[in-house]
Symmetry: D2
Subunit: 303 residues, 4 copies
């Protein structure tokens, strides 16, 4: 029994379905053929997730933009202003960075969260940032409007459980080695702890093709959208790995139905402390927003 | 030295560049840093490939549609009419079918090619069909306007050489286990035999994700487009494997810049002798064409 | 109905099983739950494939060794002598080479087959060589004791059909993008044409790991061995891609039950015209044979 | 500057090498061309990791055996006795289980650790168990002789840092979507925090082949062994996914040079609460140990 979306839910797999439940306080019963009953769309229509004043999962294609990592105040403030002007709906940046090497820049931590908040407030954009350790969660309170769980923590079930107990909306990336079903089961961890404000985000999987950093699995994203009531989006920056590919992959994700896209933007990508290859300049991002806006209209959506 | 696009070409890798070539009959020298000098766009702008009256690689997004396999006259004639009405530019169907199992329907062979030609002529559409054996090439003469080399023969170098010696335009699919570079090297086999009328076609690669039949590698398609002067397209039907996914993947491919898309269409997909799961009905194809047309306009292209 | 192993076989899938067959000339009926009835071990115990005087699939682990490509007479004669002395049972070398690039050395063709035969005869070793085009089959007659079908032609179904109609034993490699089931279905093409003398050979699949050239799928090899009556072996040279890895992968394959292993050996690997990185010197091969022999004994087999 | 193996180490990438370091307390300087300087074998010979009285990385092939999950006292006590009798050197069992689904059995937690300790002590075997959350580390003190970091946490860098600060030996599994280099970089997190008692463990990667649960990457294991001074082992149970494959994969791993192998054993696998398909019975494990012992001797090692 879980409390979710203002209802008390009882999970029931087909063969153990509690038909006799008659408790008045139980509003709904989830009956499912899928291993992820709460995330499945067998019992619920499309869910809208609100982040500040922004609604994800509706007609609008939500663009979340910002630098890979928070580096200093000027960088985040300028970037927030620039992406806001270009039409982004959310400001996203990393303060706690999960890095493959212990010798890479690990982020500014809580100081970075403060800078993100200041920049987001000045630009009028809600803030999204990644959490990598449950013990850091108190630092996020009040400073972040949406928590991101990154690809490398997509099956860090302890983190999922802790984040599931917090009311903040969650942006859940797919692990680079995870199937669509495993990704939905990770979402199920969040939902089964009572947090239903979850947006799924495809970010590229590991395949034999290495001319791109990862392989953006547009098909997997579509399968996920057809399997869950939660909004599903994509991060085209990480699979691209090179900025020349970001436009095309962003347009592909939107055309295939993404409810949200994440684009990495930096005032001076060449000098970025992380992922410098894949971040867009302000000019390139503005151009991309024009293209995305035209495309969104053509498929009956807004930006 | 190859004769291509009306020029005599001399291949030259950087360290062996024949600067002293002064033969008047040699129009161009290809200098390259890539392993596929003739296919590389380092020496040549975008190539337009003409198939009948249809130009691939220009502003128009060319839609090639038709049944997976030719089954009988009524089927192909009806389908050709239907896809023509909906706006397809090419009629595509399989007469020689490479099937994973020896017990699956292997196609009608030369009889199938005749039916395709008749159906294409009646509908006014050039015909594309797959060749699987060099010894069948005489049967294709006059019956087919474009030869397809399928994924399973993408590294059948003997077939590539033989098809390279024939003047017909070629639709070269990427092998399911091939990198983008290997795919371009397969094109190089065609070009180095003197056939420059080649269109590349991404059709999904093998990855760990099995909720789709293959993983449509949109990123790989974009990398190919940025590496070669040849047109590059996509086949969304095979990676989809289920018709519910075909629309979204087609739109993604077009948004990412595909010069051509292949869509499998059947009068009655449930009864199809092959790939019944992924073929669209006439109605669904018509709807898809409306969506693709709107999207193409939004990105500055036509259908 | 197929004639195989001296029997007339009738294929019967469970729901269409011809119980009423009473023709005396029909010796066996193959009933199966697998898509590859003839290759399945549901109806037949382990098959022994004889190549010259060498039996594959029995107690002996058969080592097939030789150069990647035939380059000249001295090279093949020396190598045949060396691998014979070290204990190899078959001599293997490439005369028709399927190369990723049209500009790579494509092999000596029929001349190479003659050199192989001479070298094999002098050393007293049966000869294995790859065929890439059905039209070359006459050239192989009398010169080769076993035909190899390479990874890139593993789903070249025309070639499989033609080779299936010839009596010579076949070494069938797994395609780099093929599942175990697809590989067994390729074998089924050979068997359904009446050729039951087939040995399967795992040679590495395409995965995201690129520190090796391919990923030797030992598990897939074991699954194949548990699914078919045909002998199953491995080629550790190609997945290794570097000679430092060849010993370990060969030992792994033998420990896991390989009936045959292929090892590439060259008098002077640094100067080899193809795959120079992965070929062993004579000394290294001799050492490997000592290690393989000790290991084979420990698991109850011979060399 | 890190303190490791009783030395003070200064990391130096080639271009920033501090030749002028003259501090007497600095015993060694690590100069490297690899991104994982401390784990690299460019500066250090093979490291032996001691777990209780068991040495990993020497002549002995260490077998760690036990149930996937601790279920009750009888189960663990019986299993510890059985694997000890058969020749296992370490007792391994899961108390905190990272499960893909929130509805699967999540383990007995601290109570499970106590049972493991009791069973290990009675059998005279050091105990290995997985930690999934840094906040659980105090519970492991005194109850576990070696900490396992599982595949799903292979890039949970917070956990790696915390475990790196603790003196206990660590068994670090490779993530199912991680390259060999990323795996070694995860080890580098442990080493750079001052914990050099690390054993790497290959456990199968995600590939397109699904007839096995994962693809045991024997080649990747060999590459790792040739790149680091740390011991490297393999877990054949998880990639197998079915007990019929466990023997062959274990033998393959040992033949390829594994310093340690992990085998899952259960008194009654059919009734196991997790991974019931892949756990061996006592009888099957005893037989496997006989086979592994014979093989180890043939390659110059002990059990």
């Amino acid at each position: 029994e879980v409390s979710l979306y203002g209802m008390s839910l009882i999970l029931a797999w087909p063969d153990e379905y509690a038909a006799k439940v008659s408790d008045q306080s139980v509003v709904s019963k989830v009956k499912t053929t899928k291993p992820y009953p709460l995330a499945s769309n067998e019992w619920k229509e499309k869910t809208l997730v609100e982040v500040g004043n922004v609604e994800i999962g509706g007609k609008r294609v939500v663009v979340a933009a910002g630098p890979c990592a928070v580096e200093d105040e000027q960088q985040v403030v300028e970037t927030a202003q620039a992406v806001k002007r270009a039409g982004a709906a959310l400001f996203r940046g990393g303060a706690y960075k999960p890095r493959t090497s212990p010798y890479s820049f690990q982020g500014l931590g809580e100081e970075g969260l403060k800078l993100l908040r200041r920049a987001g407030d000045e630009a009028g954009l809600p803030v999204v940032s990644e959490v990598v350790d449950p013990r850091d969660l108190p630092a996020f309170k009040g400073k972040t409007d949406m928590l991101q769980i990154g690809a490398r923590n997509a099956q860090n079930f302890q983190l999922l459980k802790d984040v599931g107990r917090i009311g903040l909306p969650v942006l859940l990336k797919r692990g680079m080695g995870n199937t669509v079903e495993e990704w939905l089961l990770s979402a199920e961890y969040l939902l089964s702890e009572g947090n239903g404000r979850v947006v799924l985000c495809e970010r590229g999987i590991r395949t034999f093709e290495r001319s791109t950093r990862f392989t953006l699995d547009v098909g997997g994203m579509v399968v996920a959208r057809q399997s869950t009531h939660l909004p599903v989006g994509a991060d085209p920056s990480h699979p691209a790995g090179r900025r020349e590919l970001v436009h095309a992959l962003t347009l592909a994700a939107v055309a295939a139905g993404a409810d949200l896209v994440i684009v990495e933007v930096h005032p001076n990508p060449e000098r970025a402390k992380s992922d410098s290859e894949q971040q867009l300049t302000f000019d390139s991002f503005r151009l991309l927003m024009n293209r995305v806006t035209a495309l969104a209209k053509a498929i009956g959506r807004d930006i």
